[in-house]
């Protein structure tokens, strides 16, 4: 490391901060970037700059937005009485691809995790409760991850909603088998859960 010049070291350090990138991969990427001609390398820097300058958060749902509101919140055809709560903006993409959901979203920006010191106020839960209390919402679909922190976040939201907006339905995504997949290839945990939550035909 010490044999490299400071700018190269800085690039490696910055790259290694990216998720899923270790020291080795960071080095490989850095040397790749060094080999690129400027007209291929600089658009990456420019894209990063542009995204940081232009993309912010939607003032209503905290999804990514160019301007004050995201495209979904600006879309008048979407049902404002139905709100789907997700942990991250990236969770919206798969739900949108289903074409099954015509409501709006609320992006928490994380999940409750005492270990990481994440309390309800640190993610957009107060904003969600306010948004629902303001009226016009009939159902909140909690689509946080099916992890310990995701489940606890869902529980917390459900409790708070029962207290503050008892007339609003709170639902949770079901978990089960991927459609079109052979039973043979389903992992045991998912399959076990699907078995326990089986329904009558």
């Amino acid at each position: 490391m010490s044999s490299l010049s400071p700018p190269v070291n800085r690039l490696i350090t910055e790259l290694s901060r990216l998720p899923g990138v270790g020291q080795r991969t960071a080095q490989r990427l850095a040397f790749h970037i060094l080999r690129l001609p400027p007209e291929e390398a600089l658009p990456l820097a420019e894209a990063i700059r542009e995204v940081k300058e232009k993309v912010g958060q939607c003032e209503v749902c905290f999804n990514l937005a160019v301007g004050p509101r995201c495209r979904i919140c600006e879309d008048e055809r979407r049902d404002p009485s139905l709100i789907c709560v997700v942990e991250e903006p990236s969770d919206i993409l798969p739900i949108e691809r289903t074409n099954e959901f015509n409501g709006r979203y609320h992006v928490l920006g994380g999940a409750l995790s005492p270990i990481d010191g994440v309390d309800p106020e640190d993610i957009r839960i107060p904003e969600l409760l306010e948004r629902v209390a303001a009226g016009g919402v009939r159902e909140v679909v909690v689509a946080t991850n099916s992890t310990t922190t995701g489940e606890a976040t869902a529980l917390y939201i459900a409790e708070q909603m029962r207290e503050r907006s008892p007339n609003v339905a709170v639902t949770r995504l079901a978990s089960g088998l991927p459609v079109g997949a052979d039973l043979e290839y389903a992992d045991e945990i998912t399959l076990g859960r699907a078995l326990r939550a089986r329904r009558e035909l």
Partner: protein
């Protein structure tokens, strides 16, 4: 899932072995050698190659032969769909490299063609006489082997517990509101009830075979295996209420004081826990009975474990030895280490593989045909 059996093992720079290979019999394999000849190391290598973990508690660094850098074990198995090779490479300070048929895997735990392994060695008596945490961990691993679909029950509880403990600490420090505990109590109670249910079910199925096997293996008097849950709750709501009642105590002590992370399973004879009242011999018989009871249940589900028994024969009288070998040969695969071949009744039989270890070498002794 059908039975998987080990056909052979190869060691490179593993403990006392520079390079060694051995073939196993489909049923019983007997490893004979003087004390310190490398019998235990061969058994450990089998465990290591099948699980990616060491069966002993000592530092893994010692797995590598003195003066060498990397230890490797490869295990050849025969599964219903044909032969496979499991490989584990270990270099201290590096992540272990595990492969199945040459392809890297993160863990062998979820590999279908991996045989389950059950180990008896003297330091495993800690399972009977040691702290409850060892018994809980053993039971939870058995649950995961028996019902793969419930394999995450323990992890889910542990994650919820870690979060709740972190929250208790933060509430204590005034950094978080106590009302947040309501949410984590529900999550912990749900995970806790699920964990208690699988543990209870596993122990209920184990208890009868355990009592029978204990009697056969030399534990006189009525032997019992029982679940000692910390909580008597039958539903998640009841457990949540119990957690709520103890909240002040938890906050005072700084951690979660109640729940299945404080469960125990009790091995008892004549109503008294063997942990405190058992002799060494009684504890040994109880451990063997537990392992064989587990094997019975796993075999009923088509996955009898490879049994690795180290240093048990010399401690048993002749009828017990005969009974033990009879049990081992009644199904499944087993490797037994002994100092003297005479300690293993029937070791001269043609279907038994006899391996002799000495000075870091393993020799298959020619079978003397009658």
């Amino acid at each position: 899932m059908d039975a998987v059996r080990v056909t052979g093992v190869a060691l490179r720079n593993f403990r006392c072995y520079a390079r060694a290979e051995a073939r196993l019999a489909p049923g019983l394999t007997v490893v004979v050698g003087a004390n310190g000849a490398g019998k235990s190391n061969l058994l450990e290598a089998l465990y290591f190659g099948c699980t990616g973990r060491s069966s002993r508690t000592s530092s893994e660094r010692e797995l590598v032969r003195f003066g060498e850098r990397v230890a490797r074990v490869s295990v050849d198995v025969e599964a219903p769909d044909g032969g496979h090779r499991l490989e584990v490479g270990f270099e201290p300070g590096e992540a272990k490299v595990m492969r199945v048929d040459g392809a890297k895997v993160d863990s062998l735990a979820r590999v279908d063609v991996r045989p389950l392994v059950s180990v008896f060695m003297p330091d495993r008596l800690d399972l009977v006489k040691g702290p409850p945490a060892l018994r809980r961990a053993h039971l939870d691993r058995f649950v995961a082997a028996l019902w793969p679909a419930r394999g995450d029950t323990r992890q889910r509880y542990s994650r919820a517990l870690a979060q709740r403990n972190a929250l208790v600490a933060r509430v204590r420090a005034g950094a978080a509101s106590p009302s947040l505990l309501d949410t984590w109590d529900v999550e912990l109670a749900r995970a806790g009830i699920a964990l208690m249910a699988v543990r209870g079910e596993a122990l209920t199925s184990l208890s009868e075979p355990f009592s029978q096997l204990a009697a056969q293996l030399g534990l006189s008097g009525e032997a019992r295996l029982g679940y000692r849950p910390r909580s008597r709750a039958a539903t998640a709501d009841e457990l949540r209420a119990e957690l709520r009642e103890r909240r002040e105590e938890d906050l005072a002590r700084g951690f979660t004081t109640h729940g299945p992370h404080r469960d125990d399973l009790e091995l008892a004879r004549e109503g008294r826990p063997l942990r405190a009242y058992g002799s060494q011999g009684q504890q040994r018989a109880a451990l063997l009975a537990l392992l064989f009871a587990e094997r019975e249940l796993l075999a009923a589900r088509g996955r009898p474990p490879l049994m690795l028994l180290d240093d048990v024969m010399s401690e048993l009288d002749f009828p017990r030895r005969e009974r033990l070998i009879e049990l081992l040969r009644s199904g499944g695969q087993a490797v037994v280490a002994a100092t003297e071949p005479e300690h293993v009744p029937g070791c001269g039989d043609p279907d038994v593989a006899l391996l002799t270890v000495a000075e870091g070498a393993i020799a298959a002794r020619e079978q003397v045909s009658a």
